[in-house]
Symmetry: C2
């Protein structure tokens, strides 16, 4: 069955991330029928997943319902579905929802299916070092992080010091913004939040290691900010190891290779914040237009973000390989707006094919509460001022989505507060994993 | 290994519910070593689980960390562990944590392991009609409720009206406070929250059925409040069916028997809020002291809440069968305080064995936002005033636990706001269940 045969041009959007959602919103006053198909019922504020993992915010606070965000935009229909096939020749997209297959035609297609975590070909690492790309990931990590302290306390009560050390060692692989933020939060959590909570261990003596194969942390940032961040992490007690490549990961730790040789780190909890792999849809599209994806599975696109021979197919965000653009929200948002502008020109009979120009609005990373680094153009900011900027930018975004004073208040309280009120872990997380490991052993 | 061999009397508490947590707090200034062993790392505000299921609050908001609540009470040690055995003769408790077994001696024992959902011997109903006793339950139901509307929208788009009806029919079994609150929230959710969000269905035409085998809803309440509640639910569009016994539950619906015969209700989403079964520890204890548990698995205790021949073993809350006490938080809290008073008397060499006197502080149930029913002694209150009482009682409790202004603000915002900001569902919830059902089929 082919759904969606109205008389207005049909714009199909795949994905509810920054690219997909901003594309839908940009189409608000355009006389088209929009369908947005996504695997989840929420938009996900991915840059804040580390806050869900460390108990600062709830999953709902960073994952507004896509339907709710788009409820009053009458030209949009939201569909829950996992897109399995895009057929450029017949201009159809096939998706699966709860096991049911459905197909949708389009006149214009915006593909914004994003990227998943990549373990660089070592997918077996994923079990022991989960990534941080979905709510499931974040809640899984929350269970592991708080569970590790429980295990350490047990080991402390039974005088097993080696186990205490292993359970209170946390390794974050990848020192980009996510890795830096995660390491900083783990340091705050162990050094401050949990201070009085245990009787047989001292959470403050937890070891937090931040690893990266590259010679610098925050690779895309200015050298001065890299140094400031390094110093701030050091002060928080985070052990930063650069030029260190992870060669093995297992249940009890990981092996690292650096110029001085191969070393072992015993650590129960590992977080993978290292690589990304574009949605498999990128490769599917590449095959149909005769191009090759890059090493991250991203598809090369024309300067106007369309595919060769298919001016009706726009690809935006983390899926594309173009001018070494970074995998950040702004690239997806601006790409989405560019594609919608192209669609409007096409509908209006104007000339299309304008090249996408990315405007770098700057980058920032929080190190701890009240402390961040930011660069906007040639201006570098650190410390409290950078953190205020970070806060402002995030609050403005959430207002954009929800326009609810209650949500804003919730966020404000979560960010300003010292609390970690979102520590609750499901039994599934607490016991099922242990059971699985026992069965595997 | 027997842990805990200090010189001070050892008080062991099993459970972190209202009974266990209030017992630990009541022991604050008592010169004893307290161990609290619980299956989860959080205390759970069970009466608000329906709010987690319907997207009003996050799990963290109703599940403060037990360690955090008790962090500064230095005479308490919190242990994560599933108690598998209580040996009254040797005065030891055996528990399992992440597969490791550990044993603890005690001088005084407070057993407050609570109750689970009961399907009255038809455990196979649980898969299709989950209960509402844990965070896992609430998140599972959240996934089912919001997922049902997604399925209905899909069915609507494909013109399958019978499926739309089945997916938008919600049956709540059990018309006690939890069932009434759940039904009321489902009515608000479908009638108001989701109003503009779908394109192929009208959520407001969802059918919400509240069933109970008893002839009245809110059985323990005054007849006038029962009538008021019935009327309020009717106004919200909830179909209340009393004297209706559920005889079969499956994937697509359930069978109900009432005086007029057996009828079928097609409903994708079923919520079980009907029966409770005490923790299996009750039966274990009963076997050791030669008494019989009642039909809900509850153990009869002496008037002072101890076990016959074991004045050092106190049982409180939902596990006990005594004077037809209801299974509410106040019975557990007052029982815990009574038991601690007995322990203090015992330590001080005073006479023990005073009978527990339950002081009924009243009961209340919310029907919808700004609307509740409450009775305090002979005073019956309904509507907004009752809702304000409900709000005040709950806010006071949470302050007691967290004493954090941020948490209070969070709650206040959640309760006052119209939003359902906690709708996010994990992929595990969205897809894994479907996959499991597919494999079973």
């Amino acid at each position: 069955m082919i759904a969606g045969t109205g008389t207005r041009p049909r714009v199909l959007i795949i994905g509810s991330g920054f690219g997909g959602l901003f594309a839908a919103r940009a189409l608000k006053r355009v006389d088209v029928d929009v369908k947005l198909i996504a695997r989840t019922t929420h938009h996900l504020f991915q840059p804040l997943l580390y806050q869900v993992a460390t108990g600062i915010v709830s999953q709902g606070e960073i994952a507004p319902s896509t339907r709710e965000v788009l409820a009053r935009q009458r030209n949009v229909e939201v569909l829950l579905g996992d897109v399995t096939e895009i057929d450029l020749a017949s201009r159809t997209v096939t998706a699966e929802t709860f096991g049911q297959v459905h197909t949708h035609g389009y006149d214009q297609l915006i593909v914004a299916a994003g990227a998943d975590q990549s373990w660089f070909g070592r997918d077996e690492f994923a079990l022991h070092a989960p990534g941080l790309k979905s709510i499931d990931d974040a809640l899984e990590l929350r269970g592991r992080i708080f569970g590790a302290f429980e295990l350490a306390e047990r080991a402390g009560a039974e005088s097993r010091p080696a186990d205490v050390e292993r359970f209170t060692t946390f390794v974050v692989v990848g020192a980009g913004p996510t890795g830096v933020e995660m390491a900083g939060q783990l340091a705050e959590l162990s050094g401050r939040t949990l201070r009085h909570e245990f009787r047989h261990i001292d959470p403050a003596s937890a070891r937090i290691v931040l690893l990266d194969a590259a010679p610098h942390l925050l690779g895309s940032f200015d050298a001065k900010l890299q140094r400031k961040t390094h110093a701030a992490l050091h002060k928080l007690g985070v052990e930063v190891r650069l030029g260190a490549k992870v060669v093995e990961v297992d249940e009890t730790g990981l092996d690292v290779e650096d110029p001085s040789g191969r070393t072992r780190i015993d650590a129960a909890t590992k977080v993978w914040a290292a690589g990304v792999a574009a949605s498999p849809l990128a490769e599917q599209l590449a095959g149909q237009v005769g191009v090759e994806v890059d090493h991250s599975g991203r598809i090369p696109v024309l300067p106007d973000l369309t595919l060769p021979g298919h001016p009706e197919v726009h690809v935006v965000g983390d899926m594309i390989s173009l001018d070494s653009l970074p995998g950040v929200a702004q690239v997806a948002i601006q790409g989405a707006r560019h594609s919608v502008a192209e669609i409007r020109r096409s509908l209006g009979g104007e000339e299309t094919g304008r090249a996408f120009r990315y405007k770098d609005k700057g980058s920032m990373a929080t190190i701890s509460r009240f402390r961040a680094v930011a660069e906007v153009g040639s201006v570098k900011i650190t410390g409290f001022l950078a953190w205020l900027m970070w806060l402002a930018v995030h609050l403005v975004y959430i207002i954009g989505f929800k326009s609810r004073i209650t949500t804003l208040l919730h966020w404000f309280v979560s960010f300003i507060g010292r609390g970690r009120s979102e520590r609750a872990v499901t039994e599934q997380q607490t016991f099922a994993r242990v059971e699985r490991q026992r069965q595997e052993a």
